[in-house]
């Protein structure tokens, strides 16, 4: 007997499975999947400016830094400012999805591709953002490679105000509506990577970025 049959067989025996209750069981499974019951959710004010406010507060609490500009077109200049402030080179790997912005005009040299170990700065957008916890929802694709938010020491993300939703459930609903099936990698990112393994002392920059800088695009 294969291990699959052995394990499932024992589970079935323990549950007293027979043909009749298997049919009802299958109905229960189908109904549970169709109903998508949600648990209680913390109150999050759904008004647009309130969502942005909460997203910013939570992001700051998670050690990200935040800047606000009006439009997408202003983003490259905001990036250049931040890099200069941090005394980082004006050079970054970016999501191919963002290649259309005028990076050269802002004096930032960009490479639109997946990230490599040597890349110091990674610039991404986000699929949407979650106000409840100050979280970016990143969906991987050829245009939005996952490594750009992971390998570089500095991660800069552009967040459109209209894409801030209340909770994780709303992010998943948006993914279902817009992408159909779930992409291979959905990453929820809240601030820089951290560890507390040595003496429960929090240190930023474990394996992922040391810094996460968010640029909120208010009119987008």
């Amino acid at each position: 007997m294969s291990s699959r049959e052995d394990i499932l067989g024992r589970v079935r025996a323990k549950l007293g499975r027979d043909a009749a209750n298997a049919a009802t069981g299958r109905d229960t499974v189908a109904a549970t999947l169709a109903e998508r019951t949600q648990g209680p959710r913390p109150h999050v004010n759904p008004e647009k400016s309130a969502l942005a406010g909460r997203f910013i507060d939570q992001s700051l609490a998670y050690s990200s830094s935040v800047d606000r500009v009006k439009t997408r077109a202003e983003a490259p200049a905001a990036v250049a400012r931040y890099l200069a402030d941090q005394q980082l080179p004006a050079q970054a790997v970016i999501w191919p999805q963002l290649a259309g912005l005028d990076w050269a005009g802002a004096g930032v040299k960009v490479a639109a591709r997946g990230a490599e170990d040597a890349d110091l700065v990674g610039i991404t957008g986000c699929f949407c953002a979650i106000a409840e916890t100050g979280t970016l929802m990143l969906c991987g694709s050829p245009d939005t490679p996952a490594t750009v938010s992971l390998l570089p020491e500095t991660h800069i993300a552009l967040v459109s105000a209209s894409r801030i939703v209340a909770g994780m459930e709303d992010g998943f609903a948006l993914a279902r509506a817009e992408l159909g099936r779930l992409p291979r990698a959905v990453n929820f990112v809240s601030g820089p990577s951290r560890t507390g393994d040595i003496e429960q002392t929090i240190v930023l920059g474990a394996h992922g970025p040391y810094r996460v800088h968010l640029i909120l695009l208010d009119n987008e």
Partner: protein
Amino acid sequence: MESRSRRFKSNALAALANPVLQGNLKMAKGKFVDKRAIAIKEIDDFEGTREAAKNLRNRVLENLDLWLEKFEENATARGATVLWAKDGAEICRHVVEIGKRHGVKKAAKSKSMLSEEAGLNHALTAAGIQPVETDLGEYILQINDNEPPSHIIAPVMHKGLDEVADLFEKTHKTPRKTEIPALTREAREVLREHFLTADMGISGGNFLVAETGSVALVTNEGNGRMVTTLPKVHVVVTGIEKVIPTLEDLSTLMRLLPRSATGQSISNYVSVLTGVKQPDDHDGPEHLYFILVDNGRAELVGSEFQDMLRCIRCGACMNHCPVYQTIGGHAYGWVYPGPMGSILTPLYTGIENAIDLPHAATLCNQCGVVCPVKIPLPELLRKLRETQVETHLRPWFERLALKGWAWVASHPALYGLGTWFGVRYLKWLAGGKASIPVLGTAPGWTAGRDFPAPEGRTFREQYAAMRAERRKSS
């Protein structure tokens, strides 16, 4: 991993006598507790969320076979291979076979408690595959000659900065560093190299989502993302009880897991991974395997211990346990310490191999109060104690004493006589003081705590006197 739980008592005594460990435990104590207390206030209906989490975990367990089939169907449809393992040996066999099939030389691992259950690192090394632990805590343990973890969330809670500094100096052959950020950076640099060169990533799975066939991975360091993004093969090793129905259920559980574990509102990284790399993708594994493990879990389905299968491995029960806080995790002798470990170890490794663990609790119910999926841990500990008595696993003198007590207790006159002598003897032992300094037949009991002295009359005597008084006055 071989269990050393039989030696719980001597393990615990050694832990109590170890000043370094005691210092480290004292330092850690409370950090988790205080942070959790603050974090749970952020959600308006914490109790309601616990109840919802309990119900959704129960819903799966009631039809576990069907949910596993549903998960398997959806994961396979996205290009993953689903394998099954009855025990630790079969996990090792599967992983080694996968490694050989894809010519793997190095496996980067993010934390998986099941890989500890199976002793997977030994098997990989024996097969010529280099395992590299990438969770900072697990890495420290690995370079310390594969020491076992002492906590499921903070594996090196028992170690101090000095010890880590020594280990890094010795292993990396670099100048000794004494600042935690500098040590973390050094580990980052060493491990980055491993991430980039590993051909296989091995992870656990916090949850398996049936509706999409995905694994959900929760980390703060980002190593979970690394091992599932860079290597060409990804193997998920996880228990059959980890299935949840929907992404909505994941959202509910994610409000509880980080808060209960580390007192965070959310972990830094939550990854929901589905299927294999697509032709135009820049990253992601070309091959994805799920190894769904029984190792004792199926036996609990439908049993009086089924509640334990709801566990989401947050560690809150051990963080809040006065016994764990005093002796640390190693004394428990197997993979899982604290209250949840005192239940899982006997159930998974044999009740006769962990006789003392169900007794390593004061039944104060701190664990039951904080458990995010409302597992009645003290009740399960009590059930295990009952099972020990029923199956004659307790020592003969204890059984004899209990039998004797039961006999006396079912003969009221004799019981009355016994207690009449008892209280007078104890009062005499106290010699007029409020507590008894040394208990005659069990001096060990009073060595570390007070035994309040009785006032000299039994309850029955006092009750009879009170009734007589009443009758007189009416």
